[in-house]
Symmetry: C2
Subunit: 341 residues, 2 copies
């Protein structure tokens, strides 16, 4: 089923059908009608790949995501898809399970599809990845770095949509200090490639040091994150029994620690303040509610889609969008506080 079949049935040539599909106003009304009838009758679906090959224009956007199973990224993807809906662009998703080697491979594979834009997560990649991205940019393909936003500003062609994770780490320390705490600690992710978690950790420790405090930094175990949070709290209480306020690289760790603390009879937040990151759904349901920083999960996807459309359709767009995290104070850091959302 090709243009040819439609053309034959409508009594025109292929080019007229093609033109009707792309610029219907340039075809006589009466011809248009016959063509449309033929299309409907035969259930014609244009071959996108042939069209792209001939025109040199791609309608494909490729996104490289560390782990789609993580709900935090799943919502961003959902936002991306919704934002792209109706634009004519399709999304090709690659998930590399936090393996940077696989990221390069996936990038290589996807480049063969000649995507109109590339979306990558964060700023940290293997040199080979950077090299390929540079080439793509040089070739006119915009590259979006999402879930991150940091100075120094990247060169032209690159777009950042996200927030500064060091700054978020600092926000976390400042909130705990504002609650009156001086004995702080941070539990970082044990996944080496979770660079953004490490930046939050650094931001936290740095802010504490600025305030004259020394905040110990632990690494959570791999495996089930809630279990890891439990274990981390256990370890922390052995090694640093004086600590009264702990921030975690994510809410799952924090939740595990909260449950662990309670099961040992500690009162939260009186004996121990607990602060998470991510605003996962359950933090609002448990008692006490989990204080946390809420990243703009869906907004990152939607904004990226929006900038993408501007860029691809009109050639111009912002190169930069800072979407800050919101501090959500619940009971785990501030006694007698209503959920402030």
């Amino acid at each position: 089923m090709t243009l040819h079949d439609i053309a034959a049935r409508a009594g025109v040539t292929r080019i007229t059908v093609s033109r009707y599909l792309r610029e219907p106003e340039r075809v006589a009304a009466e011809t248009a009608q016959r063509v449309q009838q033929a299309i409907d009758a035969l259930g014609y679906v244009p071959n996108v790949q042939a069209g792209q090959l001939a025109s040199g224009h791609s309608r494909l956007v490729a996104a490289l995501i560390p782990n789609i199973g993580h709900s935090i990224f799943a919502e961003t993807i959902q936002g991306l898809i919704e934002g792209l809906d109706g634009s004519g662009y399709e999304l090709m998703l690659m998930s590399y399970a936090y393996s940077l080697e696989r990221e390069v491979e996936q990038l290589r594979a996807v480049l063969g599809w000649h995507p109109a834009a590339l979306i990558v997560t964060g700023r940290q990649h293997l040199p080979a990845t950077h090299h390929l991205l540079q080439q793509a940019v040089a070739h006119g393909t915009p590259v979006f770095q999402i879930w991150d936003h940091a100075r120094p500003k990247h060169p032209a062609g690159w777009v950042q949509v996200g927030f500064d994770h060091r700054e978020v780490g600092a926000q976390m320390a400042e909130h705990l200090m504002a609650c009156g705490h001086r004995a702080l600690a941070f539990v970082d992710s044990g996944v080496v490639e979770d660079f953004r978690a490490h930046e939050r950790a650094q931001g936290f420790v740095h802010a504490a040091r600025q305030a004259g405090l020394v905040a110990p930094l632990l690494n959570a175990n791999l495996g089930d994150p809630t279990e890891a949070g439990r274990a981390a709290l256990h370890e922390l209480r052995q090694a640093h029994p004086h600590v009264r306020a702990v921030a975690f690289a994510n809410d799952q760790f924090a939740l595990g620690a909260l449950l662990e603390a309670q099961s040992h009879g500690l009162e939260v937040p009186k004996d121990l303040a607990v602060l998470g990151f991510g605003d996962f759904p359950l933090g609002a349901q448990i008692a006490p509610g989990l204080s946390t920083l809420r990243p703009p999960r869906v907004e990152i996807g939607r904004t990226t889609a929006e900038i993408l459309r501007q860029r691809l359709l009109h050639g111009q767009s912002p190169t930069d969008c800072h979407l800050p995290c919101a501090l959500v104070v619940r009971g785990s850091t501030a006694a007698n506080t209503q959920a402030k959302v």
Copy 2:
């Protein structure tokens, strides 16, 4: 950067380069080396779309998912991606937010890419969707229905990977009855298009009726599912105060209900047994642990990928894979029971 450039640099013609890429053993070792050098030097990436157009073979798999944001589907996608990794096939993902109208549109859009296989969620679609899928099958494109498995068996070309949701509903009723309960109820999803939840509800009510019981059936509100679970329990206690065991369409509802029950001083499972579906991570962490049915989230993705590879590479494959749910008994239905996983 095309085959031509590589060929020129290696002192051969395009076809030799093309052949080297696809059947390296059919090229002289010495030639192969020169070609490879040229490829490396110029950083050549073959144009997938041109190749597919010329060969008529597609290396694209399209998947239609109700909602990627739902972690339950996110893990299936992760499984799919992992299972497809290294096969040379790429995944194109479409999420239609449980809108069947959008599902048809997305299907239409993706058909233009001439995918090698289609993956759809469940068996229930608009007639237009069914029609298009039929056409695809008639054309030799296999269609996978995932997250569902039911008789009567579909015609050739279709593959089911999942489980029978009515059966799961029955399993839920049977577990509660085995715990000694006679006053049962089911809280179904309020999303009209969540057909699989409705099937679980029907299976539940049917199994209860077989046992001579009348189990009331409520619909949860839309919006935040944990809140909806809370509200549903409230409503249930007003309308059917005698009920002592409730099953829910998913764990989030169940969790909300569990928390609601506890906040009203009800003892779980003594005063009220609570059973969920999905085995979301938190059910194991809270006290009492949430009893639930665990669907093979990741396995559905992996198995689908496996069957897909068999089908696309060797032409033959099972047409059917039943992956049952596991009953996970924790404290919310059985007092003094260890988590049995």
